[in-house]
Symmetry: C2
Subunit: 202 residues, 2 copies
């Protein structure tokens, strides 16, 4: 019995609510990024919310026209597989080796909690984000890479220091922002350049 | 100077990024609800993400047709004013007295960080959620009232116990779910009834 819910609920709704309860676990998946507002690391659920707000506020900078509602869906679901696969920090190259394999297994396990039609729909959103073949996915990915730069900026270093990366490393790993938005990639480079000048990244 | 960002950024973008950084504070606003996945209380940012996921998964239960993308926007922004106004627990009647006043002042302060066009747009989304005159706002509110029932269920009482409320209190305060979805209000009542039977709410 996978559902923690009482008997008597409609069967389809019981599956959906079981999924809704299971994904509460995303709030317990910690990332490496420090919050700006509190002395602790960020979790995946609040990160996903922050990306969604960035989509709302920054959509005008997308280089290709994007459907904002669809882009919201992509960022909301993009980290769900980390409930089982864990967060893989961008600068942790060892953990990156089997990341794809772990995340595919996690996707199979997690989305299977849902009725088949919705499992397929959410899986398609996650695949779209990962493949970056649509303008929406490229902009969603740009948000995912840009947001930690803002947090590192506010922390005067953040993961740039904890992983002891060079500014060139950072630029190389963040260049994908430019696939979604030239203007935001330009702003990101200004933050990285000025961070380097201030000694927050070497 | 309100912006913590370096000089040289485009002025409009600097305002937008200042807002994006300011709303990081929503992650530090604690609610009363306990998480299902970790032994701590939920914060407003992860709560907002959870509601957005519920919109994606449960939209089919809306009693009137809803625009899902628009409903996502409503739940993403609905708690932003609490950055300055704080969370007002549903069962804390004393805190509820000046809630509206505090939240209106907070909205003026927070949205003013944005360029005027976007300040107006986000303010309109928050007003729409509060007024519940659209099907999307009624469904968004239903998510906001239904989600804590799921967390209380998983906690075998949660805020039903910490605020020592009666099942009749809970039913009265949750009935607004039925304005958005008869099916979800029925399910909510099943959870409250069974919670009462198990002694999780008196
Ligand atoms: Ca990730």
């Amino acid at each position: 019995e996978r559902s923690p819910l009482p008997d008597g609920l409609d069967a389809r709704l019981a599956e959906q609510l079981t999924f809704v309860i299971e994904i509460d676990r995303l709030k317990a998946i910690l990332r490496q990024s420090p919050l700006a507002a509190a002395p602790r690391r960020e979790n995946d659920a609040e990160h996903s919310w922050h990306l969604a707000m960035m989509v709302l506020v920054l959509a005008e900078y997308a280089d290709e026209p994007i459907d904002v509602g669809h882009t919201l869906r992509l960022v909301l679901v993009h980290d769900l597989v980390e409930i089982y696969a864990g967060d893989t920090p961008l600068y942790d190259t060892a953990a990156g080796v089997d990341q794809r394999e772990r995340e595919l297994a996690a996707a199979d396990q997690l989305f299977a909690l849902l009725p088949d039609d919705q499992a397929g729909h959410l899986r398609a959103l996650w695949d779209e984000f990962e493949e970056r073949r649509t303008p929406e996915a490229r902009f969603a990915k740009a948000m995912d890479r840009f947001q930690p730069i803002l947090l590192n900026w506010m922390a005067r270093g953040g993961t740039w220091k904890t992983f002891d990366v060079t500014a060139d490393d950072v630029r190389a790993r963040k260049a994908v922002i430019g696939d979604g938005s030239g203007a935001l990639w330009k702003a990101a480079r200004q933050l990285i350049d000025e961070g380097q000048r201030r000694g927050w990244v070497r």
